[in-house]
C-alpha cells in the first residue's frame, strides 16, 4: 500500500480539493444532510447511510448524474470504481487490469480523497438485499433490534440443524450396526437423545415458521415418521374439480399413501387416520384403513366407540362414521354374543348414544338406518326401552316419519312372530291380532293430534295390510274427517286429504266405485289440486282393471316376475 504521507500531498498540488474530508464538492447541500443523518431507524437506512459514507462519489453520482459532478469528483468517482473493480479480482490478477503506473495514480487519488477502500459494494435496496420475511415484508424495514433478533434466530436455527444432522446420522449408523471408532462400542441412540431431538425439531419448526413462514408438516418433523418416505400427490394434466386444501392435509395424505402401499398396521397409522379424519371426516378410504388397523392391532372396540361418539356428534351429517360403527359392532358382537348381560349392557350404551345424537338431529337418515340394523343385530326386539324411546320421540314430534318407520320395523319384524322373508308390504298371518289392533289404535290417536300429518295415516294403512285386514275395518274412523262430501261447496268439510284418499281406497275395495270416484274428484278439483294429475289417474284406475299400464306402453304381464322367486 502506498504510504499515506505521499498520497496526501499530491492531489492538493494539482487542484483545490473539494474538502479535506472525502465529501465531493458538488453535493454540498444534499450530502450535508446525508452525511450527518439522524440515527437510522431501520436496517435499510443504516446500510444506506453506510453506503453513502463509504462510497461518497458513487452516492453523489447516483444523486446528480456523472456529468454534473465537478472534474475533481468525477476523477474521484473513476478511482472509486476502479478500486472496487480491482478489489473484486484475485490479488494476482489485479496487475493485469492496469499497469503499475496507472495503479499508482489511482492510489494517489484514493488516498487524497480519503476514500474508504473497503466500502459497501452495492447500494442496499429494499426487498432484494435481505429478502422478505414470512409475511412478505422487507426485512430491510426492520428496526436494528428486530433485525439483530432475527439474526440470532438464524444462528440458532443453523446450530439446531447441525445437531439434528448429527442425530440423524447416528440413527442411520445405529441401524447399520456401526461401531464408534473411539469407544469401540456399537452406536446406540438413547431415549434421551430421541427426546432431545423431538424438542430440537419442534424448536426448528417454530424458528422456520417464524423466520420464513415455512410450515414444516407435523409429520415430517416428527421422529416417529422418520423411516417413512411420503408419496406426494402428483396431479396429471387436465384435472377437474381440484380442491384447495391446507398443506397439513396434503402432507398427511402423502404419508397415508406411503403406509397404505406397504399395508402397515401400527399405532402411528391409527394416529395418522385420526389426524386426517379431523380434517376430512368423509374420506371413506381413511375410515376403512382405520378399521383395518383396529382389527389388526386388537384395539378395544368399546374404546374406539367412545372416541367415535365424539366424532359423530361433531359431524352429524357424516355417512362414513356410521359404516365404521357398523364394522366395529360386527367385529365386537361375537365376543359378547354368548353373554346376555354384556349384550344388554352394550345395547343400552348404544341406545343411550343414539338417543343423544337423535336429539341433535331427529331425522338423521344414517343414524336411523344404523339403529334399525342394530335392533336386529343385538336382538333388541323385546327391549321395552327401545319402544318407549320411540314413543317419546313421536310424542315430541308427531311428524317425525323416521321414528314412525322405526316403530314399524320394531313391532312387525320381531322374529318372535314375523314370518322370515315376508316383505314389508306383504300380509303376515302370524302377526297377532291384538298387536295389529294396538298399533291401529296408536296411529289413530296420533291422527287426532294433526289430521293432515301423513305419517300416522301411512302407518295405519301399513299395519292393516300387514295384519291382512280390509281397509274398510277403519271406515268409521276415516269418515270422521270427511263431512257432507259432494253436498255443496259450503257444506263440504275435509279435515284431512289423507282421509279422503284412504276413503277412496275403502270404497273401491267395497266396489262402491261411484263413491270412490267422488272422493278422488274432490281431491283433484279442490282439496289437493297440486296432485290433480295423480288423482285423475286414480279415477281412471277405478274403471280400468289394469291399473298398471304405463301410458303408451304395452306391458307383458306374461313375463315371469322375479318377485315370485
Amino acid at each position: 500500500m502506498p504510504s499515506k504521507g505521499k498520497a496526501a500531498t499530491k492531489p492538493k498540488a494539482t487542484e483545490t480539493p473539494a474538502t479535506t474530508t472525502s465529501n465531493p464538492t458538488t453535493t454540498n447541500t444534499t450530502s450535508q444532510t446525508a452525511s450527518q443523518p439522524s440515527e437510522p431507524t431501520t436496517v435499510l437506512e443504516r446500510s444506506q447511510q453506510r453506503f453513502e459514507k463509504t462510497r461518497p462519489f458513487e452516492a453523489a453520482r447516483r444523486q446528480q448524474g456523472l456529468s454534473r459532478l465537478s472534474k475533481e469528483d468525477q476523477k474521484g468517482w473513476i478511482c472509486d470504481q476502479l478500486l472496487h473493480l480491482t478489489n473484486r479480482l484475485p490479488a494476482a490478477s489485479r496487475s493485469c487490469l492496469l499497469g503499475p503506473k496507472a495503479s499508482k495514480e489511482i492510489w494517489w487519488t484514493v488516498n487524497g480523497t480519503n476514500s474508504i477502500v473497503r466500502g459497501l459494494k452495492h447500494k442496499p435496496e429494499p426487498y432484494t438485499t435481505w429478502g422478505t420475511d414470512r409475511n412478505g415484508h422487507d426485512v430491510g424495514s426492520y428496526t436494528i433490534e428486530r433485525f439483530d433478533e432475527r439474526f440470532r434466530q438464524r444462528i440458532a436455527l443453523t446450530a439446531l440443524q447441525v445437531s439434528s444432522r448429527v442425530f440423524r446420522e447416528n440413527v442411520e449408523r445405529e441401524k447399520r450396526g456401526f461401531v464408534d471408532a473411539r469407544s469401540g462400542r456399537e452406536i446406540i441412540v438413547t431415549e434421551r437423545e430421541i427426546d432431545e431431538e423431538k424438542v430440537r425439531r419442534s424448536k426448528m419448526a417454530a424458528l422456520k415458521k417464524d423466520l420464513y413462514g415455512a410450515i414444516t408438516g407435523k409429520l415430517a418433523e416428527s421422529v416417529e415418521w422418520e423411516d417413512v418416505v411420503p408419496i406426494p400427490h402428483e396431479e396429471p394434466e387436465g384435472a377437474l374439480a381440484a380442491i384447495t386444501y391446507p398443506a397439513e392435509y396434503a402432507e398427511a395424505m402423502s404419508y397415508l399413501r406411503a403406509v397404505m402401499t406397504t399395508k402397515e398396521y401400527s399405532p402411528r397409522c391409527l394416529r395418522l387416520t385420526e389426524h386426517i379424519i379431523a380434517m376430512n371426516p368423509a374420506h371413506y378410504t381413511v375410515w376403512l384403513y382405520r378399521a383395518a388397523n383396529i382389527f389388526a392391532l386388537g384395539i378395544s372396540i368399546p374404546d374406539e366407540i367412545e372416541w367415535l361418539n365424539e366424532v359423530a356428534l361433531a359431524n352429524l351429517k357424516n355417512y362414513q362414521i356410521w359404516h365404521h360403527r357398523h364394522l366395529l359392532v360386527e367385529h365386537y358382537y361375537p365376543t359378547i354374543s354368548s353373554d346376555p348381560d354384556a349384550l344388554a349392557q352394550f345395547a343400552k350404551q348404544e341406545r343411550d348414544f343414539l338417543i343423544a345424537i337423535l336429539s341433535e338431529d331427529t331425522k338423521n337418515y344414517h343414524v336411523w338406518s344404523y339403529r334399525s340394523w342394530l335392533v336386529g343385530k343385538l336382538g333388541m326386539w323385546e327391549d321395552e326401552e327401545e319402544l318407549k324411546s320411540i314413543e317419546k320421540m313421536i310424542d315430541e314430534d308427531v311428524r317425525n316419519n323416521s321414528a314412525w318407520s322405526h316403530r314399524f320395523v320394531l313391532v312387525f319384524s320381531n322374529p318372535k312372530y314375523a314370518t322370515p322373508g315376508k316383505a314389508a308390504t306383504e300380509k303376515d298371518e302370524k302377526v297377532p291380532q291384538e298387536l295389529v289392533d294396538r298399533e291401529v289404535k296408536y296411529a289413530q290417536n296420533k291422527v287426532y293430534l294433526a289430521p293432515q300429518n301423513q305419517s300416522p295415516w301411512n302407518y295405519m294403512r301399513g299395519v292393516l295390510v300387514k295384519g291382512g285386514q280390509p281397509l274398510a275395518s277403519v271406515q268409521g274412523f276415516v269418515e270422521e274427517f270427511v263431512n257432507k262430501l259432494g253436498e255443496g261447496e259450503e257444506e263440504e268439510e275435509v279435515k284431512s286429504t289423507h282421509a279422503l284418499d284412504l276413503l277412496a281406497e275403502i270404497y273401491a275395495e267395497k266396489k262402491e266405485n261411484e263413491k270412490a270416484d267422488l272422493c278422488l274428484r274432490r281431491l283433484a278439483e279442490k282439496w289437493d289440486k297440486i296432485r290433480g294429475g295423480y288423482w285423475e289417474w286414480r279415477r281412471k284406475c277405478l274403471t280400468q282393471s289394469e291399473r298398471e299400464k304405463a301410458p303408451g306402453e304395452q306391458v307383458e304381464k306374461a313375463e315371469e316376475g322375479i318377485a315370485a322367486a
Partner: protein, 513 residues
C-alpha cells in the same frame, strides 16, 4: 335484437326462464378455479364433482347440429376434452375399476406386490382403491367428454378402459343377498371384505356400469365375462319396498326418494337391452318394473306424495302480516314445510296470497321423505323415478315445479342451491339442470338438452356410450390388448429409429419390448 329481448321478458312471468348464460358462468368458475375448501369432504370422490361439472356443461351446451353462428364457443374445448379424458383414465386401477381421486392413485411400483418383470401387481384381484361409484362416474365422464365435432372420435372414448377387469371387479362387489357394496377391502381377521353400507345407490350403479360395459358378447368369445347375479339383485331391490310403499336402502329403513329413484332406475336398467344395435331412444319393456314391484300403485302413491305447496316463510314480524295469521309457533322452526293444520286453512291461505299477487300460480316443491323439507335434488330423484316409470308427464305439475326451481332455488350468480336462498353448490346445481332436462323446455334461449332418466346423462351421450362400447368390444375381439401399451411400444420404435438404427439393445428385451 331489442325486440327479441322484450319477447323474452314477456313470457318470463308465464313461463319461468332459465338463464343459460348465467349458469354457464357458474360452471366456468368451477372449471377454471380450484373449488373452495368446503368441498374437502368430497376429496375422496372428486370424479363425482367432475361428473357434476361436465354433465352440467354438456346439458347447457347445444349439440353441434343445433349450433348457430351466434352460439358461443363451447366452454370445454376439444383439446380440453382430450386432456380431461386422459385425466379420468388416470384413475383406473390396473386390475379394473376406477378410484375416486387422483390422490389415491398410487404409482404401481410403490406397491410391495409390484412385480418388476411382469410390470403389474402380483395379485390379479388386488383390492386396490377402486370403488363402484367412481367407476360409474369415470365411464360417464369419458362419454360426456367425447369430441362431438367428430363422431368417429366419440367412438374411441373408452379406449384404454379395462372392460373385462372392470366387469370382474363389479361382480366381486356383489354380496350374497344380491346387493352391492362400494369397494373391496382387506380387513385383518375378516379377510377380503365388501365394504359399504346397505345402500340402494350401489345397486343402481352396478346396473348402470353393467349396461355401459357389458354389451352382447356371447359366452366363449373374447371379452366375455361372467355376469353378476341379476336375479338376486332384482330380488334384493324388490324386497326393499317399505310398509308405506316407498323404497329404502332396505325394507327396514325409512322410505327415501333417492333410494326410490335408484331402485326404479336399477330395475329399468336390468331390463334395458344390452345389444349395441338397439337405439336407446325407443322405450324398452321393463317387466321387472311393471309386473314385479309388489305394490306399484302404492309406489306411485308414495312418489306422488312428495310434491307439496311451498309457502314463503313468514316475514320477521309475523304478527303484522295478514297472510301469515295461520302459522303456528312451532311451524316457524321449519320454514320450508309450512303446511297449515287443515286443508281448509291451506286453501284459505292460498286464496289470500292469490288475491294479493293477482294470480293463483303456486310454487310446488319436492321433499325426499314424508314430512321433510324442500330440496332441489329431490326434484330430480322424484322426477327421475317417475320418468323411469313413464309417468312424469301425467303426474307432475311441470309448470309449478319449474316455477319453484327457477324462482326460489336458482341463484343470482348461477347454479341452484339446496333450499330457497341458499348458495349454489355443484351437486344441487347439477340436479336442478338434470330435472329441467327431463321436464323439457322447448322455449328459445332457456333450453337444456334432453336427459336420459336411467343413465343420468344427456341423450346424445347415451348414443356415444353405445358406439364406444361397440368399438371397445371389437378391439377386444381383435385381441389387440391394451392400447396404451402399444403406444408405448411405438415410442420405443421411434426412439430406436432416432438413434440411427444399429442393433437393438439387449436391455430393451429385458423390459419387455
Amino acid at each position: 335484437m331489442e325486440n327479441d329481448n322484450k319477447a323474452h321478458e314477456e313470457p318470463e312471468q308465464e313461463w319461468p326462464y332459465l338463464d343459460v348464460h348465467r349458469h354457464l358462468r357458474y360452471w366456468k368458475m368451477c372449471i377454471r378455479a380450484p373449488l373452495p375448501h368446503v368441498y374437502l369432504s368430497n376429496e375422496s370422490n372428486r370424479l363425482a364433482l367432475a361428473y357434476f361439472i361436465v354433465n352440467s356443461v354438456t346439458l347447457l351446451t347445444p349439440p353441434p347440429s343445433e349450433r348457430t353462428p351466434e352460439t358461443p364457443e363451447p366452454l370445454i374445448s376439444r383439446e380440453d376434452k382430450r386432456a380431461m379424458r386422459k385425466w379420468v383414465l388416470h384413475h383406473q386401477h390396473p386390475t379394473g375399476g376406477f378410484c375416486g381421486t387422483s390422490s389415491l392413485v398410487f404409482p404401481l411400483h410403490s406397491y410391495d406386490i409390484y412385480n418388476f418383470d411382469t410390470k403389474t401387481l402380483d395379485e390379479p384381484d388386488h383390492a386396490g382403491l377402486a370403488n363402484i361409484t367412481s367407476t360409474l362416474f369415470a365411464l360417464q365422464l369419458l362419454a360426456l367428454l367425447a369430441d362431438e365435432e367428430d363422431e368417429a372420435a366419440g367412438e374411441n372414448v373408452f379406449e384404454g378402459v379395462n372392460r373385462v377387469g372392470t366387469l370382474r371387479f363389479l361382480k366381486s362387489l356383489q354380496r350374497e343377498d344380491g346387493s352391492f357394496g362400494e369397494a373391496l377391502s382387506d380387513l385383518p381377521g375378516h379377510g377380503r371384505f365388501i365394504a359399504g353400507g346397505y345402500d340402494m345407490r350401489y345397486c343402481y350403479i352396478a346396473t348402470a356400469i353393467r349396461w355401459i360395459l357389458r354389451g352382447d358378447v356371447k359366452e366363449g368369445s373374447p371379452g366375455w365375462v361372467e355376469d353378476f347375479d341379476t336375479e338376486a339383485l332384482a330380488r334384493y331391490i324388490l324386497n326393499s319396498q317399505t310398509y308405506d310403499r316407498g323404497f329404502a336402502g332396505n325394507s327396514q329403513d325409512e322410505a327415501h326418494a333417492g333410494y326410490a329413484y335408484c331402485a326404479i332406475a336399477a330395475l329399468t336398467l336390468l331390463d334395458r337391452p344390452l345389444t349395441t344395435s338397439t337405439s336407446s331412444s325407443v322405450p324398452h319393456k321393463s317387466p321387472l318394473l311393471h309386473s314385479s314391484i309388489r305394490d306399484l300403485p302404492g309406489l306411485i302413491h308414495w312418489l306422488a306424495s312428495r310434491p307439496f305447496v311451498y309457502l314463503e316463510p313468514p316475514p320477521p314480524s309475523a304478527d303484522q302480516d295478514p297472510d301469515t295469521y295461520i302459522y303456528q309457533e312451532d311451524d316457524l322452526d321449519d320454514p320450508n314445510f309450512l303446511l297449515p293444520p287443515t286443508p281448509s286453512d291451506l286453501l284459505c291461505l292460498l286464496s289470500q296470497i292469490a288475491e294479493k299477487k293477482g294470480h293463483d300460480k303456486t310454487h310446488v316443491a319436492f321433499n325426499g321423505r314424508t314430512n321433510k323439507v324442500a330440496d332441489t335434488c329431490y326434484f330430480w330423484w322424484v322426477g327421475g323415478a317417475l320418468a323411469n316409470l313413464g309417468r312424469l308427464d301425467s303426474l307432475v305439475d311441470r309448470e309449478a315445479a319449474r316455477r319453484f326451481l327457477l324462482e326460489k332455488m336458482q341463484h343470482r350468480i348461477g347454479g341452484f342451491g339446496k333450499s330457497p336462498g341458499s348458495p349454489p353448490d355443484l351437486y344441487h346445481s347439477f340436479f336442478g339442470l338434470a330435472i329441467l332436462g327431463l321436464l323439457g323446455d322447448e322455449r328459445e334461449g332457456g333450453k337444456v338438452r334432453g336427459f336420459d332418466a336411467g343413465l343420468a346423462v344427456p341423450r346424445e351421450t347415451v348414443g356415444v356410450i353405445e358406439r364406444a362400447r361397440r368399438k371397445l368390444i371389437e378391439s377386444e375381439k381383435g385381441g389387440k390388448g391394451v392400447v396404451d401399451g402399444e403406444k408405448e411400444l411405438d415410442a420405443v420404435e421411434m426412439g430406436l429409429e432416432l438413434r440411427g438404427g444399429g442393433e437393438r439393445p439387449k436391455w430393451l428385451g429385458a423390459c419387455g419390448y
